[in-house]
Symmetry: C2
Subunit: 306 residues, 2 copies
């Protein structure tokens, strides 16, 4: 099989050596290099150059290197007839669960407040809670949400969650009614795919439905949050803190109020990166499936948007 | 049994209602109130007023409300002939494990660096590691260390540890040679009791033995660290960051360089507080043992210092 690697973000050196070792009989090209365009059957992409994919007439699989495919689906030059698979790899799922844990624990142990005290030179303790006093709400209960839930439960937190499709996860209160999750969530974690249904899900009425002094953790997509509503909920004192990894515009513009807001902990879209060590075996499996003429794993349902 | 509660720090309202409900036939006094001094058999203490304990001639147990008893043992007015028990309660053990996890994850996910970037308005990603790329070293493998180890292992970290007495913990590389732990530890966590043997254990030669760009987490006692040596190791760039909860002098003096050091995350001795909900059953068990004339749980060995 001829395979083209086309990404403006991912570096080929992190991927190609592993892929070539795993699949020595296949031919890998790095866009714009691509050999005979008619022979290319698989494109490995993460923000591919516009129009690039449409130049391969016999493409059988577009394989995203990333879990989120909202960017790809928004590209009008994406060949819609070609099956699209998203990446679900163990390293990325684990990284996301680590990020959920560190932010939930930072809030639970009051570390965001202690950092403020440190800056002010103030020695002051806050009341300690037990993990079982705290309910964490997960928006999204797929591969990411269920692993985050498992680890939160191991730490003793109460966990509830919301998903479009009904889910059953041991120990997790699962709801299809968002309001049920919002009213319970002292820490609310957004892990949703970005779709027409989930855009702006974290808005003024969602924040108002949450308990006083809760925190919001958005590590999905910037467009899940109505930024002005979040700022208002933080400034009014209703929300205690926000941990934000993703933004409507990235990199976050210099003048954006999130940068220096005392109630915002901001990271540069690094909550979880695809990990080539665990992702390459997933790519290999899907390339083998193309070779055998079988459907790929983790195919995107364009009508659902993920 | 007559029991006196004597603490300059712990508030009786957090403890007495639960104790009275659990032991309705016993009599509880809050120092300086104490009824008939000759009848008091148990003292519940956390920094008791000096000389207080020596005024009870028939004391059968001094029960610390805290895990660390170095302060008590350093008090020359402590009646040495009376058995002394330290507190080991599930809530406090869990709190300490949460604190270990949050600091290890903060370092592992580079959050201390991203906070600096946020303050500087810089959008910059750092390389992601997997938990299995990281070795966490635990100094102390008792109740605290073994629970921290269990949770770190569940998160996928490699864990090694050092203890005075040989220990075997599934999945943990246990050493009695401190150097073996130091040279492996990319994150080093101090959970030791403070004794003559452990005082100043975190000194210049210990830091030099650690890998470059490691972090140190001290949530035991301030006197475990030679503060000037730690500052030197941070300032030279050898250590990447220190998470410090405890200090030689507490509250930390206003002019101390830790307050505003860019490589220090500082908390006000709050890594884990005794949790009355889980500690009261331990107190009740030990009071019942006094009543039955049996030795208490968690007795301190004065020669070991804990």
């Amino acid at each position: 099989v001829d395979i083209v690697f086309a990404s403006q973000i991912e570096t080929p050196e992190s991927w190609l050596p592993r892929l070539r070792r795993a699949l020595p009989a296949d031919r890998f090209f790095v866009w714009p290099e691509c050999g005979d365009r008619e022979r290319v059957e698989v494109a490995l992409v993460g923000e591919p150059p516009r129009d690039a994919l449409a130049t391969f007439p016999n493409l059988k699989l577009i394989q995203s290197l990333w879990m989120g495919v909202d960017g790809l689906l928004a590209d009008p030059t994406l060949p819609r007839a070609v099956p699209l698979a998203r990446m679900v790899d163990a390293g990325m799922v684990a990284a996301m669960a680590e990020t959920v844990l560190v932010h939930v624990l930072d809030w639970h142990r009051h570390l965001y407040r202690y950092r403020e005290h440190q800056a002010d030179g103030v020695w002051k303790r806050h009341r300690q809670y037990m993990a079982c006093d705290r309910t964490v709400g997960l928006l999204g209960l797929g591969a990411l949400g269920s692993e985050a839930a498992r680890r939160l439960l191991l730490m003793g937190f109460k966990v509830c969650g919301w998903s479009r499709r009904p889910k059953r996860i041991e120990g997790v209160e699962c709801f299809s009614d968002l309001g049920e999750v919002l009213k319970r969530s002292q820490a609310l974690v957004c892990l949703l795919p970005l779709t027409a249904q989930t855009r702006c899900v974290l808005n003024a009425s969602a924040f108002a439905a949450m308990p006083e002094h809760s925190c919001v953790i958005n590590i999905a997509r910037g467009a899940h949050v109505v930024e002005a509503d979040l700022l208002a909920a933080l400034d009014s004192g209703h929300l205690a803190h926000a941990y934000l990894d993703v933004f409507e515009t990235e990199p976050l513009p210099e003048a954006h109020p999130f940068w220096h807001h005392p109630k915002v902990t901001l990271t540069p879209h690094c909550a979880a990166l695809t990990e080539p060590r665990t992702a390459v075996p997933v790519l290999v499996e899907n390339i083998e499936r193309v070779r055998r003429g079988e459907p790929a794993l983790n195919l995107v349902d364009p009508s659902a948007g993920y």
